[in-house]
């Protein structure tokens, strides 16, 4: 199962423009070496190794309870690993308490001090470091301008909206110029519109300051927008780490394919295994899947072919060829404005999900119960063996 890595990467997030993780000579900024954290019998984080490079926005993505927050808290010094090491900028930080780490954290609840004004909240960390008064005033003002809260300096946190609180928390964490900023579900408490706006703002601030970000989120859309790379976590392990497009287009397992975005997964058996192509017989699909690249798997192995909903074409007229073609009946349609989701039921009983952009205002409508043909490009399926 060798999925070729794409040669050009459209990295969305991060001040890092090149891709240092592809350069074997590049020195990682944060190294997590075989870190395990157990709570009694339960392993919250299980033998995780990670290399994060300077200027990255690295997203830890996973469902709740997958260990992403525990890993973040270990980076912050709030939990001490049961085994393994954490290095930041070459220094071993494994047992260093939070107040001595060059790391700051933006908490999910923001954890703003309710008895202090916005200004005092932001100045708190600098005062703690005994920075001179003049410098504190200047740095706090600069930071509040950066997050567009200059006019709110004298307010108390309970006089702010959710979005404003979020920005105060960000300013407070960034003003100390940490080597690493940890963000725990940074946009989780914001509504959808504001979240989208704030995502881009976060990226632009990160770009300006060049601080390395590690973000924990359960929202894959958030991870895709923000991240230079994503680490998908499941049951305490990092199951795949890569750029958003790698994770989406080249998932390494059924779990990743299913967790990131929606996908149609067809179980099947390898019937032809050539270096240039493979054919998979899938009883679930009721047909043959032809994939135009080789994979590494045992002959006649059970494999899964994953096809993204937007990569399936739907037509009323039969397409050419017999591979990668199935027939089915439209079971359900969800019109979302920009695109529509179709659920097509195959004769085998399997329901396939297809999304089509609504490019025309007067498209020839496909309606309920209509018989349609489904087909996809031979490059589109991702074949995974687990």
């Amino acid at each position: 199962m060798a999925t070729p890595a794409p040669t050009t990467v459209l990295s969305s997030g991060g001040a890092v423009k090149a891709a240092p993780w592809r350069d074997p000579a590049a020195r990682p900024y944060i190294e997590v070496e075989r870190v395990t954290k157990s709570f009694g019998e339960f392993k919250a984080v299980d033998d995780v190794s990670l290399k994060i490079y300077k200027g990255e926005i690295f997203c830890l993505l996973g469902a709740s309870g997958c260990g992403k927050t525990t890993l973040l808290r270990m980076l912050g010094g709030f939990e001490i690993p049961t085994s393994g090491r954490i290095l930041i900028d070459g220094e071993d930080m494994t047992g260093v308490p939070p107040y001595e780490r060059p790391v700051n954290m933006m908490f999910q609840s923001y954890a703003l001090f309710p008895h202090m004004t916005v200004e005092q909240n932001v100045a708190f960390g600098l005062k703690q470091d005994r920075v001179s008064k003049a410098e504190i005033t200047e740095r706090v003002a600069t930071m509040l301008d950066l997050v567009k809260l200059g006019s709110f300096a004298k307010r108390k946190p309970n006089q702010l909206s959710g979005g404003q609180k979020q920005r105060v928390a960000l300013a407070r964490a960034l003003v100390k110029r940490p080597k690493l900023l940890l963000l725990d579900e940074p946009l989780g408490a914001l509504d959808k519109k504001l979240r989208e706006h704030t995502q881009f703002e976060l990226i632009s601030i990160q770009d300006k300051l060049g601080v390395t970000f590690v973000v924990v989120t359960h929202d894959q859309e958030e991870a895709m927008t923000l991240a230079s790379r994503i680490g998908v976590m499941n049951q305490g392990e990092i199951v795949q780490a890569g750029t958003p497009s790698e994770i989406y287009e080249f998932p390494s397992s059924k779990f990743v394919a299913d967790f990131v975005g929606s996908v149609n997964i067809f179980e099947g058996k390898l019937i032809e295994d050539e270096p240039e192509y493979v054919r998979i017989a899938s009883p679930e699909l009721g047909g043959i899947i032809y994939v135009s690249h080789g994979i590494s798997a045992a002959p006649e192995a059970v494999v899964w072919a994953a096809v993204r909903p937007e990569k399936i074409f739907m037509s009323t007229a039969p397409p050419e060829g017999t591979d990668n073609v199935v027939r089915g009946a439209v079971q359900d349609i969800a019109y979302l404005g920009d695109l529509s989701i179709y659920l097509v039921k195959l004769p085998t009983g399997k329901v396939v999900r297809i999304t089509q952009p609504n490019t025309s205002r007067h498209a020839e409508a496909i309606t309920w119960d209509q018989q349609v043909y489904l087909t996809w490009d031979p490059q589109s399926p991702v074949v995974v063996t687990r």
Binding site: Y99, M105, F107, F113, H115, A173
Partner: protein
Amino acid sequence: MKTAHPLQKIGITGRGLVVVLPYLWLLLFFVVPFVIVLKISFSDIDLAIPPYKPLIEWVGKNSLAIKVDFNNYAFLFTDSLYISALLNSIKVAFISTLFCLAIGYPMAYGIARAQPSTRNVLLLLVILPFWTSLLLRVYAWIGLLKANGVINNVLLSLGLIHEPLTMLYTPFAMYVGIVYSYLPFMILPLYANLEKMDWQLLEAAEDLGCRPWQAFYKITLPLSRNGMLAGSMLVFIPAVGEFVIPALLGGPNALMIGRVLWDEFFSNRAWPVASAVAILLLIILVPFMMWYQSVQARESAGAR
């Protein structure tokens, strides 16, 4: 439209009744006794039953004489006994409050940070002494503190001391009694305040460079200010007028205003003077009570 209940027609509504009840209670058991005490405090002492002259009297057929006597109040300031008793009471109450705060804060903090399951047990232990009468508990302290009491016997048998310590009927015993009795009043409001605390704030403070004790000093302490004030008022206000504990544990030299009140009423039968003392005490405590009320109001408004 619904037809109004006959009672509603004459202005009696369920809501009105509910509001009236507590007012009626206050009128009957606070305002009326207070007015009586106020009245007595302006009367003249008399050898009669009751031992004071009426304030309002018919003289002749058609004239009503109101005789307001300020001598009782003047007397309080001429005899140094009253002022020094009052000052001593305030001092004792203040020191007791400080001890309650010093002992109660760690206890309330410990309970607030305990596991929810153990928390209830710990709270129960704090409240448990209330199930026994205060008098019994103070007598129990006599048994502990007296010359051949439990504490002295234990210390003697351990060889730590060679003759019994004099503890009973000293200021020490009085402070022990007051602090012991009033401690729950400090712990409970403090606990209620600390229990609402967002402990993640402490992590945020540590993240920003605070050592744990600095985080406590800069975050927990200021945020629990209202709890400390509420607890302190609940201890201080009743402790100023405390009578039983100083009388039983403090011995004859414990000059407290509650004691003076008792003596004036029952030994001297000087009701007017005693009433004046009571009113004076009330006047002194009212600002503290108002402060406590405003703290409570702020606390419940959530603006900390």
